[in-house]
Symmetry: C2
Subunit: 716 residues, 2 copies
């Protein structure tokens, strides 16, 4: 052979060898057996797929939401009634659908303690001659039917749920909002409240408080009406109101649960199951001790002098269902992202709650479709809840958290609530995100046309919101202040009892545009599909924006490799609460009572928290830059984020307030803008001189903040 | 070219290509960049290294433990005294040693509320003539010095910690063990207890109870003595006792904390830090309301008729330290295996607690050496704790759990306690493992000679143990019943307050061989190195066996890929507790009070638990067979095991018992052998007729068992 041939052979041989090596190395995947990498190595570190998220957003249809709402609000569906039972079936049908359903569903039943009017003996407020027996006037049995949508045999008459039956008669006294201070003022004026009937307007304090406070002053019965100034921007005539506008007609009456706590009243801390011990009715706290009845402003105008309140409510234990839907997580099935809304209404409940359920069903339709088509499975498990008997006091969601306390506390990443998803028509509304902890990094609500609008603004229902509405395209930038979640919807037990990061998403009313306490048809017979379709969200683009936003948040929480919650936000909130105590009168009083010692460890604890949170964020940034971080490293920081909220829980902090154990977000009576326990103890000490309780609540806060800092600290 | 040449070339070419493919696929490792496997893939699934464990066992030396004990017990080291401070330094020195130290250490200081006698005015019990003033006799100030080991200026005089000062004088009444029933019996006999001094013997009830109960009957002061029948197998003469045997000399006095609860008394639920609010002394519950003083049986024999109890104890807040040592986990640093013992004694404390600390130091020596030599790093983090002020009421460990409540609750796999490691000499002792949950699969205690002896037997201190001692080589087989942890040592707050699986390891006394209530020198000045070296464990082989066993358990918990805890054990325990309620009088009374409904859901819940636990074990078995299971899968089942114990917690279950919240292991007063809350409610109902509380506790148990089953259920 010539050297040329030899050279050629060698070159060909070398080429073949090289091709072989390259093929062997790159083209043939290593097996899962021994030396090679197991299959989970690829999936375990997968992050959120942004294009999949975009595809979700694109598929959310306003028309579908409208159809959902029409179906959901087609008849009254008060908790445990026939209408409610039919919605249970509707939800199960949707979530079990082979094309758009979820992995699995369940129906969880609780024996809820409820209260209903007697259909045979309607409640009323009747006017008589003082001392005499002639009925001059009796309030109407229910709202006037102003649209066909509204008419239905099952419309429940207006009543105050849990108010006891009785027929007290007495002199009518106007007691403003029925606050303690309102009755006190009357008392100070020398008015004898004993045996009177107090007429109070909605607002200012909880529904039940109006009767609880009144009874303390000897009041025999309470009438509650809706003032046109509080709900209708002062419009009161028939022609100014629905069906001609969104304002409440004169005959409208706000129903409601007259229940100061939440959860099933007979089974605090335990699920209302068959085996569960029930306390005595006489042991229930926070419900009206005297007959109480809500009326409309039309009737309120007519009431004079001597009236009789006739209440025939009956209390009963009835089975109420939660409908649950599940999507199993691929990598971390033992981490839950929860999404829920209640199902029950007072009457047709188009806005409250069906506007939220319509949105939820659209989200599950699109996700279910992606799931069934094999295009998507979330990293973490997703649990959808359609809660029962919320209107009676958040019963379904609370019983759920009681039954699965340990599991939920250990595994839940966050709870997303969308109850009333749109409170009014543009320009009356603003995008709002109430939340307990930590910014979700979505830069904007997404409007119906798919364009980005103003960002979600964290506001509380009771605070004016100076931000532009969704019609504006100007992006606004963080930081936003944290919005405060009260106990107004089903997030209450998640945040207050379990310490699970919670948020509530909606278009809420713009206080610059209306002074309505809430949307005017709230809890009345006028809250119908027609009302929603014509006055709340014609075209359903606001609903669509809420669905996209809530779905966006949900997907980010379920799919992001590192949980998208910024822990540093809590530092700002702590600073804000601290500042309120460390200045002015508050500080002076502390100093005067040798409590200056108390504020320094608090400052130190907050500073430690902020510094630890900043370090934590740096570690996250570094971790995200690593090409392939260890799944247990990722899990560790995610657990730190998830459990941060739990560190603020203290079951001993508020021994007299059922469920409240979150040191930052618990309810308070004081108007001091600092930590709730501290604020209440301070206000109480001003009256009683009990500064020891202030000292105790300082300890509680310091300990909670230190504990939160420990949670975020570098482990080991 | 001939076809032969062509064939040859093709073959050579194919061979080269094949070699290349093989080389490329197998010989060249895939890089960490993109397509290849990251480095953590190898380490993340690593299991316990058995040969490393064996190496640990081999390195545990009895002589080292003996040296440790000699150093630890060289002088009295009561909490916060000079001797205690020097041991803090000793521990820090050992754990910071470059050759045998741990990764890091810390000294955590708490301001503990303690009680000491006044060195200037010794407590005493003095005998006088009834009505007169002459002191006929005064009890001795402290024990007689019978060995050189024992003599030290810092020996604290016998006293009842937390008993108030005072000098009550009155007629002496023998009140047996000072139980409520003992005083009641005297009262029923027509004896007027008002203004009397009660003399009671140790045992039968908690120390503080003797005074708390007496005060209810008008008793003015309490004297507590040790009966030779209870501690010395009836031996009472000087020559039968130490230094001639392990029995307590006549002058011996058991000191102790007269404190019915645990943790710092002024700061329940909060760490006793500078910032912490302290309740008023008058608000403390469970400590003697009247002067109380312990004495020896020599003095007890002499007391007659009219006596005066002189107590000059002073209460004070003093800084007490926990010394903490850490070893960082390699794969799961955010999972903690805790190991601890208290450091403080009453006098020299050779057995209580130094026999445990000597063992802990030997374990940390060997582990520290392996660590510093780079031979080992645990999968999970290990935290060692040398607790302060245990003798005053488990203060150091409790404050630790209060300060780091959230973090420990979320991350702790288990707590191992070795306090008194050997209670007596063979054949007086038996290996004992008290634990809350779940068998550790070590088949035996390992004796000093390295041979396997009888397995650890789960016993409670108060139950006879019919098993052979470590001298036997007969292996015994599971199942063992679960031993019940009370609140006798530092595991109390871990198990009762945080719900962390806990265990206590020791050689305990064999009830067939001695009737001693505890080893006779317990809490006396005779508990010295000499006593330990001659009468408890000559040669220190029992200590060595405890060190090997505890270290074995520790390593298995820290290094095993799947946590070595068998969840099915709880099923047996639940069956046992259920059976006690579902038969005989108990069941009859339930039925008679319409509570039959209550037992069925309980049975159903227990059956569900057992079935879910069996399924869980099957899943574990399957998972272990997988060649390379996903690290997140492993983490998921480990979290289920770890958090099972937490599911039995209910902070509302025992509102009047500080810290107790574990539905299975809480303390009880009733002698019914069922669930503690149920047992107490039942016993109370027999007296008061309050069957509602029984109903409530049935709910509490059902809910806890259901919750535990939910925790183990297949996720999603």
């Amino acid at each position: 052979m010539s050297w040329l041939k030899i050279l050629g052979a060698v070159i060909v041989g070398a080429l073949l060898l090289t091709v072989g090596i390259l093929l062997g190395h790159f083209a043939i995947p290593k097996g899962g057996n021994g030396s090679g990498a197991p299959s989970w190595v690829q999936t375990v570190g997968r992050d959120l797929n942004e294009s999949l998220l975009q595809s979700f957003m694109d598929q959310v249809e306003s028309e579908k939401i409208r159809e959902n709402l029409k179906a959901l609000a087609s008849q009254p569906h008060m908790a445990t009634t026939k209408g409610d039972e039919e919605l249970v079936k509707l939800l199960l049908r949707r979530w079990q659908d082979p094309q758009i359903g979820l992995d699995s569903t369940s129906e969880d039943v609780y024996g809820a303690f409820l209260s209903f009017p007697d259909p045979q003996r309607p409640n009323s407020v009747a006017v008589g001659v003082p001392g005499g027996g002639i009925k001059i006037f009796t309030t109407r049995r229910s709202e006037k039917n102003v649209t066909a949508d509204q008419a239905h045999a099952d419309v429940v008459q207006p009543y105050a749920a849990y108010a006891p039956p009785g027929n007290p008669r007495g002199r009518l006294i106007y007691a403003n909002q029925g606050k303690r201070s309102d009755y006190q003022e009357l008392f100070n004026m020398g008015i004898n409240l004993n045996g009177t009937i107090a007429i109070t307007r909605y607002g200012g304090t909880g529904r039940a408080d109006k009767a609880v406070n009144g009874a303390e002053f000897g009041v025999a019965g309470v009438v509650v009406y809706t003032d046109p100034a509080d709900i209708n921007d002062r419009r009161a005539s028939e022609e100014e109101t629905y069906p001609n506008s969104w304002y409440m007609p004169p005959s409208g009456v706000e129903r409601g649960s007259y229940n100061g706590y939440f959860g099933d009243l007979l089974t605090p801390y335990y699920p209302a199951k068959e085996f569960t011990y029930r306390i005595k009715e006489s042991e229930i706290q926070g419900i009206p001790p005297i007959p109480t009845q809500p009326i409309g402003f039309e009737d309120a105008q007519t009431l004079i002098c001597d009236v009789q309140v006739n209440v025939h409510n009956q209390r009963v234990i009835k089975n109420s269902s939660n409908v649950m839907g599940f999507i199993r997580g691929s990598e971390e099935p033992d981490r839950y992202v929860l999404y829920g809304n209640h199902r029950d209404s007072w009457v047709h409940g188009a806005i409250d709650p069906s506007s939220g359920t319509a949105v939820m069903l659209e989200i599950t339709r699109v996700l279910g479709k992606m799931l069934k088509e094999g295009k998507w499975r979330p990293r973490r498990s997703i649990i959808f809840g359609s809660w029962g008997a919320e209107e009676f006091g958040l019963i379904g969601s609370t019983e759920y958290t009681e039954e699965f306390y340990s599991k939920l506390r250990e595994r839940s990443v966050a709870y997303i609530n969308v109850d009333i998803s749109v409170f009014g028509e543009r320009p009356f509304v603003l995008p709002a995100l109430l939340r307990s902890c930590c910014t979700i990094p979505i830069s904007a609500f997404t409007a119906g046309d798919g364009k980005l609008c103003s960002p979600p603004r964290d506001v509380s229902h009771s605070r004016p919101s100076p931000l532009p509405g969704p019609e504006s395209l100007t992006p606004l930038h963080p930081p936003y202040s944290l919005g405060s979640l009260g106990a107004g919807s089903d997030y209450a037990s998640f945040i207050h009892y379990l310490g699970i990061t919670s948020m509530d998403i909606a278009y809420t009313y713009d206080r610059n545009k209306t002074s309505a306490r809430i949307y005017p048809a709230y809890h009345t017979a006028f809250d119908t599909f027609d009302y929603a379709d014509r006055f709340i969200d014609p075209g359903f683009t606001s609903h669509q924006a809420v669905a996209r936003t809530a779905g966006n948040v949900l997907l980010r929480l379920a799919d992001s490799l590192v949980l998208p919650l910024n822990v540093s936000d809590y530092g700002e909130k702590l600073d804000e609460l601290y500042s309120a105590a460390a200045q002015g009168d508050f500080l002076d009083k502390l100093n005067a009572n040798n409590l200056s010692l108390g504020t320094d460890p608090l400052k130190a604890a907050i500073d430690r928290f902020k510094s630890v949170a900043a370090d934590f964020n740096q570690r996250i940034t570094k971790l995200k830059k690593e090409e392939s971080p260890s799944p247990l490293q990722i899990r560790m920081v995610n657990d730190q984020i998830m459990l941060l909220e739990r560190a603020f829980l203290n079951p001993q902090a508020f021994p007299n307030k059922y469920y409240y154990s979150h040191v930052i977000w618990a309810s308070k009576s004081s108007d001091q803008a600092t930590f709730p326990g501290l604020a209440d103890a301070y206000t109480n000490a001003l009256e009683t001189g009990d500064w020891d309780q202030v000292r105790k609540h300082l300890t509680i806060v310091v300990q909670a903040v230190e504990s939160a800092a420990s949670t975020l600290e570098a482990v080991a």
